[in-house]
């Protein structure tokens, strides 16, 4: 109907790539984790976009409604969000320890400190 058929996908891809870029390009470990989170959140959007049904209702059964969005991607992404935050937590704990051991959380400076 419009040129918007794949609009969701493409913006989602742009989001993913900005997250991925931040993850590679930025030296600060916490920034890398932020990049990782943006990357993952955009993948969640991809799934939810796949599950979306126009004019459908949220998948909560109600009388008189016969078109729902697909519940399965929602289930998967609920799991994935939790997995993502668990990873972030572990990464942050590592960052704290690295700061304690090296006095910095900048990737480039870590490489300069040889043991």
């Amino acid at each position: 109907m419009t040129g918007l058929e794949h609009y969701n996908y493409w913006i989602v891809i742009a989001l993913m790539m900005s997250g991925l870029y931040a993850l590679i390009a930025r030296g600060n470990l916490i920034r890398k984790l932020i990049g990782l989170n943006i990357f993952q959140a955009s993948v969640f959007l991809l799934y939810i976009s796949v599950g979306f049904v126009r004019d459908g209702a949220a998948p909560i059964l109600a009388p008189g409604v016969d078109s729902y969005s697909n519940p399965l991607p929602h289930v998967l992404i609920l799991t994935a969000i939790v997995v993502g935050v668990a990873t972030t937590a572990l990464g942050l704990a590592l960052a704290v320890r690295i700061h304690g051991a090296y006095g910095t959380i900048d990737d480039d400076q870590l490489d300069r400190q040889r043991d």
Binding site: L4, E5, H6, Y7, N8, Y9, W10, L15, M16, M17, S18, L20, Y21, I24, A25, G27, N28, I30, N37, I38, A41, F44, L45, I48, V50, G51, V53, R54, G56, A58, P59, I60, L61, S67, Y68, S69, N70, P71, L72, P73, H74, V75, I77, L78, I81, V82, V85, A86, T87, T88, A89, L92, A93, A95, V96, H99, G100, A101, I105, D106
Partner: protein
């Protein structure tokens, strides 16, 4: 139509926020903007009919993750960062991967059509039967707790694993003292 307009606008806003996160000066600002990013995400999930996901994203993404980051930042001290430079290698990787993905989505069925293959297989049974088989109206909860209950168990184990890992890492300060 209204729904779509909101969707378009929110997505555009999301991209702007994301770029803001990446370009921001100062870690505190970056973390706060990231929190905002998660909130906009949650909003988008609502427009895409994923209410449960929206709640979780708002609570876990915007809430817990942001708090954890701030806490970590506090323990690491407010470190000054080098000004961001264009990282050409990363740009090449990102453009390559993104290009591939765009190509890969070209023949995906349009977003939102009810006869997309994803909606034809497996999911219909959840919508039709879960009310009878499980007996609660929220299909997402039914699938989560029952049909794919094992994934949910795995999810709990993931949290436990991360908790254990964090405890293992932070319970000892031996290393720092040793060096």
């Amino acid at each position: 139509m209204m729904e779509e307009l909101i969707d378009v606008l929110l997505l555009a806003a999301l991209l702007l926020v994301a770029l803001q996160v990446i370009g921001s000066r100062g870690l505190v600002a970056a973390i706060m903007t990231f929190g905002a990013f998660s909130l906009v995400c949650a909003g988008l999930f609502v427009t895409l009919d994923a209410v449960d996901v929206a709640f979780t994203e708002a609570a876990v993404g915007a809430g817990v993750a942001t708090l954890l980051m701030l806490a970590a930042l506090q323990r690491c001290g407010g470190e000054s960062e080098a000004a961001p430079r264009v990282h050409w290698g990363a740009l090449v990787v990102v453009l390559g991967v993104g290009g591939l993905l765009v190509w890969g989505t070209l023949d995906l069925p349009p977003v939102g059509e009810a006869d997309n293959p994803a909606h034809q297989h497996v999911a219909p049974r959840y919508l039709e039967q879960s009310g009878v088989e499980i007996g609660i109206p929220n299909v997402v909860t039914s699938v989560l707790a029952s049909y794919r209950g094992f994934d949910t168990l795995g999810e709990v184990v993931v949290i436990f694993t991360a908790g254990l890992g964090v405890w293992l890492l932070l319970s000892s300060r031996r290393r720092e003292e040793g060096e």
